[in-house]
Symmetry: C2
Subunit: 257 residues, 2 copies
DNA sequence: CTTCTATTGCGTCATTATGACACAATGCTA
DNA sequence: TAGCATTGTGTCATAATGACGCAATAGAAG
C-alpha cells in the first residue's frame, strides 16, 4: 500500500504543513442494495472505525481540502459535497488514547506533539454513486469500507455524533433539494428512487403519491426503455433532466413563504 | 471605555491563550422601525465596518465562545444563536493591511505575529430583541452600532459575504422554524409580525393569508388587549405560546416528506 | 359631535396539493 | 396458459393556498 514512511513524515512535519487546530471529517453516503451506506476507515491506532478525515494544508482552501480527502478515499471528483456543521467542543478528543495507540503502531510522539492538540473539526457530507467508489484507506488506516447506516453503534471520538448530524441534515435537504443524481446510477426506476427516499427518511411512502410528487418537480425524464428481468411488470427507466435538476438545486424545491 | 492595555495584552499574548487558526464572526440581527438591522463594529485599524467576532480560548467550547462574543457586544445572554457556515478560503484575509493599520493605532507587530496568520472563521447568526441590546464596542473598536441591512455595501474582509450567507440561512429557516420570539417584544401585533416576515424575505405578503397561515401553526396566543393610539382600528396584541413555540423549534414546521 | 379614512377582523371562492385507495396492464413463473 | 406480484394510471375526499370582499373601528378632520 502506501509506504509507512509517508505516514511518519506527516506525523513528524504536520505542524509545518497543516493549518493548526482545524480538521475536517467527511460523511460519505452511498446507496446499495436498498441500504444507505457510509464509508468508514479503520485506523491502525484505534479499535474503532472512523469517518475519513484530514487536515488543511497551509495554502489550501477548506473546501478544497474536503474535496481532496474525498478524492483520496473514493477516487471520485465531481460529487455533491457540502459542509454541514462544525464540532468545536473543547473536550471532543482524547488524543492521549491516540498517543498510546500510535505507540502500538511503533510511532512515538512527545506530549506536546501537534496531533495531541485540540482540533475543531468541520463536518462535510457527500453523496456518491456507490458503484463508482474505489474505497482506499489512508496511510494511517488498515481498512476502508462501506457500512450500513443501521449497523453503526460506536465510532472513533465523536464521529457517531457527526454522522447523526449529517443524517439529520440530509433528511432536511430532502425537502429543499433534489437528491438522487449523486446516489443513483444514470438510469433508474421509480421504485428504486422511492426506496432511496424511504431509506433516507426511514419510513415508507405511498407508491402512487410519491410518483405524483416527484414527477411534479419536473426534474425527471422518463425513458422509453423498461427494466426487464424483474420477475414482474417491467418498470420504466428514468434519468434526471439535468437542466431542471441544477435549476432546482439552486432555487430549492417548494418555496414555503 | 475598555483600557487600551487589555487590547495590547491580547495582541501580545494571543498565541498563548487562543486556539490558533480559528476565529468566529457573529451576524446579529435585530428588528426596529420595520427594518432588519445588523450590529456592526468599527475597528480603529480599518476604514471598514466589520462583524463582531473573536477567538476561541484554548479550553473553551466553540459555541461558548460565540455566546461570549454575543454577550460582550450586546449584554444579552439567552438568545437564538446558531452557526451557519464556515469560511475557509486560503486568501480570505489580507492581514498585511491589518498590520499597517495596527501601526497607525500605535501598535507594532512582527511579520510572523499570530494575528497575521491565516484564520478559518465560523459564522454564527443571532436573533435578538433590539430594545434589549446595549451595543458595546470591543477593545479594538471605536464604535458599535446597528445598521440597516439595505445600507450595507462593503464590509471588512469577506464579512459582507458572511452577512449575505447568514441572511440566506435566515430566509431558509423561516420555512422550518418559528421566528419572532427573539426579534419582537413580548407583546406584538399581527401587522408587526407580518412586517418582520416581509422584511426578512424582502417581499410583501397578503395580510389575510399571512394571518391564516401563522395562526395555523398554533404558536400564537391572542391577548385580550389591543394596541391603541395607532390612528386607525386598534389591532390585537399577541404573544407566543412558548410551549408550542419550543415544540415547533424542535420538530420543525411543515414536514415535507 | 359627526363624518371621513385608513387599517384591521373575519370571511368567501376557486385552485392546487395531499393522503388514501381502486383497478387494469404487464412480465415472469409454474 | 393461468397465476401472481408488481407497476401504470386514475379517482375521491380533504387540506392548504392564493386572490379578494366587506364590515368594524379608532383616530383625524370638520
Amino acid at each position: 500500500m502506501i509506504p509507512q514512511k509517508t505516514f511518519s513524515e506527516v506525523i513528524a512535519d504536520g505542524e509545518g504543513i497543516f493549518q493548526p487546530s482545524v480538521s475536517l471529517d467527511c460523511v460519505i453516503f452511498g446507496f446499495h442494495e436498498n441500504e444507505l451506506k457510509v464509508l468508514l476507515i479503520k485506523a491502525r491506532t484505534t479499535d474503532h472505525w472512523a469517518l475519513p478525515g484530514g487536515f488543511v494544508f497551509k495554502e489550501e482552501d477548506l473546501d478544497d481540502a474536503a474535496t481532496r480527502v474525498l478524492k483520496e478515499r473514493t477516487g471520485i471528483n465531481d460529487i455533491f459535497l457540502q459542509q454541514f456543521h462544525v464540532f468545536g467542543s473543547a473536550n471532543r478528543s482524547d488524543w492521549n488514547i491516540h498517543r498510546s495507540n500510535l505507540k502500538k503502531d511503533g510511532i512515538e510522539i512527545g506530549p506536546n506533539h501537534w496531533l495531541l492538540k485540540r482540533f475543531i473539526t468541520v463536518g462535510y457530507y457527500a453523496l456518491v454513486e456507490f458503484a463508482h467508489v474505489i474505497a482506499t484507506p489512508d496511510s494511517s488506516s488498515e481498512d476502508c469500507k462501506w457500512w450500513d447506516i443501521n449497523e453503526i453503534d460506536e465510532l472513533f471520538m465523536d464521529h457517531k455524533q457527526i454522522l447523526d448530524k449529517a443524517l439529520d441534515t440530509l433528511r432536511l435537504q430532502l425537502n429543499h433539494l433534489p437528491i438522487g443524481y449523486n446516489l443513483l446510477p444514470q438510469k433508474f426506476t421509480m421504485p428504486e428512487l422511492q426506496k432511496l427516499y424511504e431509506t433516507i427518511l426511514n419510513k415508507t411512502l405511498d407508491r402512487r403519491n410519491f410518483q405524483r410528487r416527484i414527477t411534479g418537480f419536473g426534474i425527471l425524464k422518463r425513458l422509453k426503455e423498461t427494466r426487464k428481468g424483474g420477475a414482474h411488470r417491467a418498470p420504466f427507466l428514468y434519468s434526471f433532466d439535468m437542466r431542471k435538476y441544477r435549476k432546482a438545486l439552486k432555487q430549492g424545491l417548494h418555496g414555503g413563504w
